[in-house]
């Protein structure tokens, strides 16, 4: 049975299963991911007057009573060039980080990853998933928030072990993985979809059969869709691709995950 399970969850077999839609496994986490801190590819923006706010929880302290943990945060531009890396210490139980163009010395957009860590082995028979909150403000207005969406990169909680785990989400052989956003955008003036590739491989994306592009590993891209869009249909060869949505109306934005 163990062997069968191993075969059924082998990457190649998963790719076949996902391609032919047989007992799809869009995301795969198992006990090999124990003692890992797993992060989403959180979007950030400092373009066009945007500020980004990341609100996070000290998960190791809250749920495992571990004091003195750190938070490693790595920022990348939309082409996955590293811009900045910081280690936060002595933060509150819930805390926040504001990301501006001055903070990054960069105007644009991209993704960042967040890893909880300590300087020793904690022997946790689980992984920590950072699904915290990301907010966007334009022209110093109220931040509009959404929570983390998926699992992209993992690192050992033990900061002395520098090994990254990846590809929790999978690919299919064909661009046949559909994702239809369950919202009506007819009354929107403008929509931007923020895509981030969660894989270490290139993926292909098509939107509403009239816009298609490829996205290199961990790259991100903002696609603008203008008014009179009723329905947004996404096809890709990535099994779990859910863009974030910036919905513009007048002078304000509504940001949510799709």
């Amino acid at each position: 049975m163990k062997l069968l399970k191993k075969i059924a969850t082998n990457n190649f077999v998963l790719k076949i299963r996902n391609t032919i839609n047989f007992k799809r496994v869009p995301v795969f986490l198992n006990e090999e991911n124990n003692n890992q801190s797993i992060s989403d590819a959180f979007p950030w923006r400092t373009d066009n007057g945007f500020k980004t706010k990341f609100k996070f929880t000290d998960i190791l302290k809250l749920l495992f009573s571990e004091e003195g943990s750190e938070l490693e945060i790595k920022f990348f531009d939309h082409k996955y060039n590293e811009i900045k890396s910081i280690i936060l210490k002595n933060f509150n139980l819930t805390d926040s980080l504001i990301i501006t163009k001055d903070f990054l010395s960069y105007e644009g957009y991209g993704v960042f990853f967040v890893f909880h860590r300590k300087d020793k082995n904690l022997n946790i028979s689980s992984s920590i998933n950072n699904r915290c909150y990301i907010g966007f403000s334009i022209s110093n207005d109220v931040y509009s928030y959404a929570h983390g969406n998926t699992f992209v990169l993992g690192k050992s909680i033990n900061s002395k072990i520098d090994k990254t785990k990846k590809n929790f989400v999978h690919k299919s052989f064909l661009v046949n993985q559909k994702y239809f956003i369950q919202n009506n955008f007819l009354d929107s003036e403008k929509i931007e979809l923020f895509f981030a590739n969660p894989l270490s491989k290139k993926i292909n994306i098509a939107i509403n059969n009239n816009c298609s592009f490829a996205l290199n590993p961990y790259n991100s891209k903002i696609i603008s869709i203008f008014e009179n869009t009723h329905l947004i249909k996404i096809r890709s060869d990535c099994t779990f691709l859910r863009p974030y949505v910036f919905n513009y109306r007048g002078s304000f934005i509504d940001f949510h995950h799709s």
Partner: protein, 262 residues
Amino acid sequence: MNFFFSLKTKSFKSRICIAKFTNFGKICKKIKLYSVKVDNENGEYFWNLRIAEANQDEFFFTVENKSIQDNQFYFLAKDDEILNFNKILLKKGISKFTDTVPDYRSNSRLYLTNGPFSSYQADYPDRMIGAQGSVVSSIGSLLSDENQINKIIFVNIFEKPIIDEFEFYIIDYEKEKILHKGNIFTNSINEIDVNPSWIKPSNFLFTKNYIGIPVYVSSNGYNISCEHTHPMTEYVFGNQKFIAVKIFKEKINEIVKKNSYK
């Protein structure tokens, strides 16, 4: 199966948009949108089921604010599936159509009277409606003491058609104190006013006896933001998922037990 809900309260207007298709594109043209709420006839409480008052087109049902009644919930079902409905006990799995991965969600929009809105992709899974327990949720995560208006909309759907009162607490976890105690109701969309002094990193909302979804709303009077917090179990994957959260909730419960409301 998922239920859907509005964010309509005494302070906010709401609109819900519910797709007739799954997020992998399977559309069901025969699907209908139903509404349920707890009702009372001659002292007997029951689930009052109706076809929802909604606009619809090829792809969506839209329920506008004027059509949303207080404490009303929604779900999708086909004609043969609705025969599974029971007015004495809200059952799980009335319809299979909204059993999807990722979750089947509506767009729940909340707005101020002057136009700006905030929305989130909302659902209330039917696995929650039979559960009783507690919710712990960080207050500091999604609110801001810089904004004039901060509220928690706490949504509960419970299988029995009862409007049962239950307690909520605002807890300072690090100082082990209760900052506030109040009551909210089952099968309701409850609105909790948040004092700006509660918006601190170590403060949590804690509910006793019933679970639900806390939606945090913050506004400066011109613009608005809303989002729900995750259950704490979402932060952990693996063997310790439920144990870690259980231990944390027991600590919170101990704080409640050893303190009296001031």
